[in-house]
Symmetry: C2
């Protein structure tokens, strides 16, 4: 399946607005509660998305374009979001995610990637050879993984309140593969 | 855990805007593709949410308030969305979901439910006794189940394109418990 970069940009450009519509001014009993010890809140996930946009996608794309597979990507710091969110409100994080995403998509367009660029390979520290096309598609898949996670975290706050209906709610059967 | 109806209304009021921000004008290769035979597209899910709002939540709440547990709810038609979506565009469905949800929340507020109302029981055709509080919480859980499903359906369209990164994307490990 050839990866259509325009469709991916279309999706990537919508995620901040979707999270903003879902989460802004929602009560903190929903946005600031997690799924249990060592899991994230919706607030944490937004901070993680900002951190990933700052350190992951465009920086890695540039490494592929400049060095190909001769220089592995820096490993991603899965706790980097803690620095992003310190002392900030959810509203501030949502604003920041909108800003950093818009900047990154402008940067992506400036790279003016052609099919031959998208076919180039870089070196992932754990996965080995990955193409720029796969990296771009994964940016969208990463957004969707965390939208999936946020819907699950919010639903978790209703686990007791739904009573016997719980067996019908698919999101409550989700094993939490995206924490 | 006592169920806070105001928080639930807060969440319910956000779902149409969140889906609108995520899906409107997204390419049809994302919104009109499913996860394989007998599964739904994102477009189908929006139609299902409209259908559930029309036939499920407020009508059932009124049955509880009027008849208690002496009259079981009408069973929910899981294919009712096919009638909702016939001949319509996704944009039209998103508009309609916004409208029907706003009307239903206005109706819910008009019921002016008190703790003693929320504690009343109705009779679910399969589950037996359920309270109005559980029904209201399930309305929110149902929205979240389908947001969870939509993120999974969209991610499915990237399954091949992400290549080796797939093992890191939790949404791609999701077994589809909400189809």
């Amino acid at each position: 399946m050839p990866h259509n970069l325009e469709n991916t940009i279309s999706l990537l450009s919508r995620t901040p607005a979707a999270l903003n519509a879902l989460l802004r001014d929602l009560p903190e009993t929903l946005t600031h509660r997690n799924e249990g010890e060592q899991t994230w809140t919706a607030f944490d996930v937004v901070a993680h998305l900002i951190h990933a946009d700052r350190t992951d996608w465009i920086p890695r794309a540039k490494i592929i374009l400049q060095f190909g597979d001769t220089q592995p990507f820096a490993p991603f710091d899965r706790l980097g979001h803690l620095r992003e969110s310190q002392g900030k409100s959810l509203g501030e994080l949502l604003d920041e995610f909108g800003r950093v995403r818009a900047e990154n998509l402008a940067e992506l367009r400036k790279l003016n990637l052609q099919p031959k660029d998208l076919a180039r390979s870089g070196r992932h520290p754990a996965l080995g050879a990955v193409t720029l096309s796969e990296l771009s598609a994964t940016w969208a898949g990463h957004d969707l993984t965390h939208l999936h996670q946020i819907s699950r975290i919010l639903a978790h706050q209703y686990r007791d309140a739904v009573g016997p209906f719980g067996i019908y709610l698919g999101v409550l059967q989700c094993a939490g593969h995206s924490s």
